[in-house]
C-alpha cells in the first residue's frame, strides 16, 4: 500500500472523485426509493458504482472495490432482468449501508490511515440478497444470471461462481425485447504481417452480421477504399448490437483467423447509438474517436455524454470545473482585502488633503468600482449552493422514518441558495439536529395526527433564502409545536428561571430549549432526547456569526429560523474612538446612538450604570472602563452612547465619539495573544492603524 501513498496527487483526485460520486449516489439511490422504481437512475447508479470499483481497484483499496462490485452485481441484475418482486426499500438499505462504508473508508484514507475497513460481511449480505431476489423472481428455477460483464472479468472465485449459471441463462432466456440486446464495442488488431487488413476486417463484419442485429465500424468504407495501413496501426473497431452474451462473443472471435488480439467491452445502449449517429452522420473522414471511447469503455471517467436523453439527472451542466485548494482562495481573498485597505490609504492620503484633483477623483472612482467588482467575484468563488447539504438531510429523514415509524416528508425549498464555504461546513450539524428534533419531538405519530385532523403524513420544510446581507435557513414542521408550560416547568426544575414564569416572552421561553441538557422529552431515543443536539445548534450558528429564532404555535407546528451573515470576512462597521484606541462595531447590531441626559442615567449600588430610554432601562458598558483605556471622556455627558442588539437583547456601550462608517476586512488576532472577551478580531483602517472589532454577542454575556 505504501506505493499508493507515494502517489499523492492521484490519491487526492481519487478522494475528490469518490466524495462527489458518493454524494451523487446517495441522492440517486434515495430518489429511486421514493419513486419505487429504478428506471430513471439505474444507469447512472450503475455507472458510478462501476467507476468507484475501477478507481478503487486502481488505488488498491480492495475492500471498497469488492463491495462496489457486489453492489454493481445487484444493480446489474435489477437493470437487466427488471424483476417485478423487488423490495426497493431493502435494496436502498443495503446500498446506503455500502455507501456509508465507502464514506467511512474515504474519510479514513483522507486522514492518512488508508483503507482498513472490512466489507466482507456487507458484501455477503448483498450477494445473499441478490440470490434471494433471483430466487423469488424465478420461482425457484435455476437463477438466470445475466451479468455478462462478469465473464470478461472473471478472475476471482466469487465471480466464477456467478458465471456458472449464466450459460443456462442464455438458453432459457428468450431474447425477444430490445432489453435483451447487448451492446459491444470491439477492437481488433490483426497479426503484424497478415496483409489485406481491409478485406479481413470486411470478412469479420460479414460473419458478425449473422449474429448481430446492428453493426457499424471504423474505418467506415473498408470495401471501397483501402484502409490497410490504418487498421494495421490503429486496429479495427466495431460497434455491435447483439442478442448474444459476452461469452458467445468471445467464442465467435476465437474463430477469426490471423487475429493478434481482440478487446470486447460491453457498452451502454446510449453509447452505442451515439457512435452510430457519428457513423451515419457527417463524419466521413475516418477520425477514430479513440480517446473519448477509452473513457467510456473503461469507465475511468464518468462523462455524461451518453445520457443526454435523461433530462432529469442531467443537471450536471457542461460547465468546466477545476479544483482549487481552499487555502489559495483564502489567500486571494486576503489580498483583495488588503487591496481594499490600501486603496483607501492611497486615495485618502493625507498628502492629498486640500488639493483640487478632478481627474484624479475620476480615476479613483473607476478604481474603486473595479475593486468592488473584484471583491464580489472573489467572494462568489467561495460561495457554494446549499443543495448538497440539504440533500444530505433527505438521508436523515429517511433513516429516522424507518426507525421510529413516523410518516414524514421533507420538502426542500431554495436549495440553490449560495452561502460561504465556511457556512456550509458548519451548518450541516445544526440542521441535522434541528430536523431530527422536529421529526422526533415535533411530528406526531400517524394516529395522533389523524385524531387532530391533520394529514397523516407530516411535513418538514427546509427552506433557504437571501434577505439583505443575510441568509435565512428555515426549518418548519407541522407537528404539535412547543409546549410553553412544559418548557417552563423543566426550566424551573433545572433552576434556569431568573424571573417569574409569566414574565417571559414566548421567544425567551422557546430560546431555553437551546440550553445544554435541556429536553422535555421523557424518553431518550437513538436520535434525540438527551438535550445535547440543540445546544450544539446554537453554538455552531453563533460561531458563524448568526443566530436562531424559534417560533411555535401549539398544535400547528414549530419554526426554527437561522440567520447567518452572507460573508464573514468583510463587514460594515461603525468606527468608535475611546482615548487613543479605536473600536469597530458591526453596523448590523447597532440600534441607535444618542447623547444621554444626566437625569436619565442611574447607577445602582454595585456601580453598574444604566440608562432610561423611552421608559426602558438598559445597562451601559463603559468601554474605557471595561478595557482599561485612558480617556478624558469619563462622564456620560461627554461621550456618546450606542445601543446594541444581540440575540434579541439590548444594551448600551459608552464611547468617546463616533468616527464614521467603514467597510472593514476582519482579521483574527494572533493566537499568541490572550483571548479578550468581547473582541472578536481586528481590522486595518485606511490610515494603517488597527481597530479592534467588538462582538456584541460576546459582550452581552458580561451583563
Amino acid at each position: 500500500m505504501s506505493d499508493v501513498f507515494a502517489n499523492e496527487p492521484m490519491l487526492e483526485m481519487y478522494i475528490v472523485e469518490m466524495n462527489q460520486m458518493i454524494n451523487r449516489l446517495e441522492q440517486l439511490v434515495m430518489n429511486s426509493e421514493n419513486e419505487n422504481t429504478l428506471d430513471e437512475d439505474i444507469d447512472e447508479i450503475f455507472r458510478h458504482m462501476h467507476t468507484i470499483k475501477g478507481n478503487s481497484m486502481m488505488m488498491m483499496f480492495e475492500a471498497i472495490s469488492n463491495l462496489a462490485h457486489a453492489v454493481e452485481d445487484l444493480y446489474d441484475y435489477l437493470r437487466k432482468e427488471k424483476p417485478k418482486e423487488v423490495n426497493y426499500s431493502k435494496v436502498t438499505d443495503l446500498v446506503l449501508e455500502a455507501i456509508d462504508f465507502f464514506k467511512a473508508e474515504v474519510e479514513s484514507i483522507e486522514s492518512g490511515d488508508g483503507s482498513n475497513g472490512d466489507s466482507d460481511e456487507l458484501k455477503k449480505e448483498i450477494r445473499d440478497y441478490l440470490e434471494s431476489i433471483k430466487f423469488m423472481n424465478d420461482g425457484g428455477a435455476v437463477a438466470p444470471q445475466n451479468s455478462k460483464e462478469e465473464a470478461s472479468k472473471a478472475s476471482t472465485e466469487n465471480q466464477k461462481y456467478y458465471i456458472a449459471p449464466q450459460k443456462e441463462a442464455n438458453s432459457s432466456n428468450k431474447p425477444k425485447t430490445t432489453d435483451d440486446h447487448h451492446y459491444y464495442h470491439i477492437k481488433i488488431l490483426f497479426e503484424e504481417d497478415c496483409q489485406m487488413e481491409s478485406v479481413r476486417a470486411f470478412s469479420v463484419v460479414h460473419k458478425l452480421k449473422d449474429v448481430c442485429d446492428d453493426i457499424f465500424h471504423f474505418p467506415k468504407n473498408i470495401v471501397e477504399e483501402n484502409h490497410d495501413e490504418e487498421i494495421r496501426n490503429e486496429g479495427f473497431q466495431a460497434y455491435l448490437c447483439s442478442e448474444y452474451a459476452m461469452d458467445s462473443m468471445n467464442q465467435f472471435f476465437e474463430s477469426v483467423s490471423s487475429m493478434r488480439s481482440v478487446d470486447i467491452e460491453e457498452i451502454e445502449m446510449s453509447v452505442f447509438y451515439e457512435y452510430k449517429d457519428l457513423f451515419d452522420g457527417v463524419i466521413k473522414e475516418v477520425s477514430l474517436p479513440e480517446p473519448e471511447e477509452k473513457k467510456e469503455v473503461s469507465g475511468e471517467t464518468v462523462s455524461d455524454d451518453g445520457k443526454k436523453s435523461k433530462e432529469k439527472s442531467k443537471k450536471t451542466s457542461n460547465e468546466k470545473y477545476i479544483n482549487v485548494g481552499i487555502s489559495r482562495i483564502d489567500q486571494l481573498l486576503d489580498l483583495v482585502g488588503e487591496l481594499v485597505v490600501s486603496e483607501s490609504m492611497v486615495t485618502r492620503n493625507t498628502d492629498l488633503q486640500g488639493l483640487k484633483l478632478e481627474s484624479f477623483e475620476k480615476s479613483v472612482r473607476q478604481h474603486r468600482f473595479i475593486i468592488n467588482e473584484l471583491q464580489d467575484v472573489v467572494m462568489s468563488i467561495r460561495m457554494v449552493p446549499l443543495s448538497l447539504t440539504f440533500q444530505k438531510m433527505n438521508r436523515i429523514v429517511r433513516d429516522m422514518k424507518k426507525k421510529i415509524g413516523k410518516n414524514v416528508e421533507l420538502t426542500i425549498i431554495g436549495e440553490h441558495t449560495e452561502v460561504d464555504k465556511n457556512v456550509i461546513e458548519h451548518i450541516g450539524d445544526p440542521l441535522m439536529h434541528i430536523i431530527r428534533n422536529s421529526i422526533d419531538h415535533g411530528i406526531e405519530s400517524p394516529a395522533e395526527r389523524i385524531d387532530s385532523g391533520k394529514p397523516e403524513k407530516g411535513t418538514v420544510t427546509l427552506e433557504a433564502k437571501h434577505a439583505g446581507g443575510d441568509v435565512w435557513i428555515i426549518v418548519k414542521d407541522d407537528g404539535k409545536g412547543l409546549n410553553r408550560e412544559r418548557i417552563l416547568e423543566k426550566a424551573l426544575s433545572r433552576d434556569l428561571l431568573r424571573k417569574e414564569p409569566h414574565e417571559y416572552t414566548d421567544q425567551e421561553v422557546y430560546g431555553m430549549i437551546f440550553k445544554p441538557g435541556f429536553s422535555t422529552k421523557e424518553q431518550v431515543t437513538e436520535f434525540s432526547g438527551r438535550g445535547v443536539g440543540l445546544d450544539v445548534v446554537q453554538k455552531n450558528i453563533q460561531k458563524l456569526g448568526g443566530n436562531v429564532v424559534v417560533n411555535s404555535t401549539e398544535g400547528i407546528g414549530t419554526e426554527f429560523a437561522i440567520r447567518i451573515p452572507l460573508t464573514l470576512a468583510i463587514i460594515d462597521g461603525m468606527l468608535l474612538r475611546v482615548g487613543h484606541s479605536s473600536f469597530t462595531v458591526p453596523i448590523i447590531s447597532i440600534k441607535e446612538s444618542f447623547k444621554a441626559e444626566k437625569n436619565n442615567i442611574v447607577t445602582d449600588p454595585d456601580g453598574h450604570m444604566m440608562v432610561m430610554v423611552r421608559g426602558q432601562c438598559y445597562p451601559i458598558i463603559k468601554l474605557y472602563d471595561r478595557y482599561n483605556i485612558a480617556s478624558k471622556y469619563q462622564s456620560v455627558n461627554d461621550g456618546i452612547i450606542i445601543m446594541l442588539e444581540s440575540d434579541g437583547k439590548e444594551f448600551c456601550i459608552f464611547a468617546d465619539e463616533i468616527i464614521g462608517e467603514q467597510q472593514v476586512v476582519v482579521k483574527s488576532l494572533s493566537k499568541f495573544l490572550t483571548k479578550v472577551n468581547g473582541i472578536s478580531g481586528c481590522t486595518l483602517l485606511g490610515d494603517g492603524r488597527i481597530s479592534l472589532i467588538l462582538d456584541p454577542s460576546e459582550m452581552i454575556h458580561e451583563i
Binding site: 488588503e338 485597505v341 490600501s342 487613543h580 484606541s581 472602563d625 471595561r626 478595557y627 482599561n628 483605556i629 482579521k667 488576532l669 494572533s670 493566537k671 499568541f672 495573544l673 490572550t674 479578550v676 472577551n677 473582541i679 481586528c682 486595518l684 494603517g688 492603524r689 488597527i690 481597530s691 479592534l692
Partner: protein, 162 residues
Amino acid sequence: MNEEKAVKSNKYLTFSVDKEVFGLDIKHVDDIIGIQDITLVPEQPDYIKGVINLRGKIIPTMDVRARFKKESREYDDRTCIVVLNMQNTSVGVIVDRVVEVLDIDEDQIAEPPRFSGEYQSHYISGIGKINNEIAMLLDCNKLLNYEQIEALSHLSEEVEEA
C-alpha cells in the same frame, strides 16, 4: 533532534537591554523595524504591548524589558522591534537597540548554569563568548511561550480588577 543540530545556524542577532547583550538565533528573525504605533489590546499580560501593522499583517508585540521584569524606559529612535517567527506565528519583540549579527561557533557557547531554585534561568539556551564580551543566547521558544500559565494568571488578575 540530531538533524536539528546539524542544521543549527550559528549566526546570532545581538541586541542590548540596559548593559546586557542578548543573542537571538537568526533563523527565527524575520524582520527588524523601528518602533512604530502600537495599538493597545486590553487584558494582556503586561509585557504584551499590543499589536502593530506590519505591511498588512497584524502582529502582537512584546516588550523584552517588561518580559525580563526590568524597569520600563521611554522608546526612542534606537528602539527596535525584532519580528520573530516561531511555528508560523509572528511576534514582535521590542528591544532597546539592535547591535549586530554575529557568528558564534558552537564551541564558544557555554551551557547555562542549571539551577532549580531562584537562579533558574528561564529564557537562556546558552552563553556565547564573543571576543571579550559575552552574550546571553535566548531560547526563542521559551521567550515567546514560556509560562503560559503565568500569562493566564496575569489575565485573571486583570479580569478581577476590571
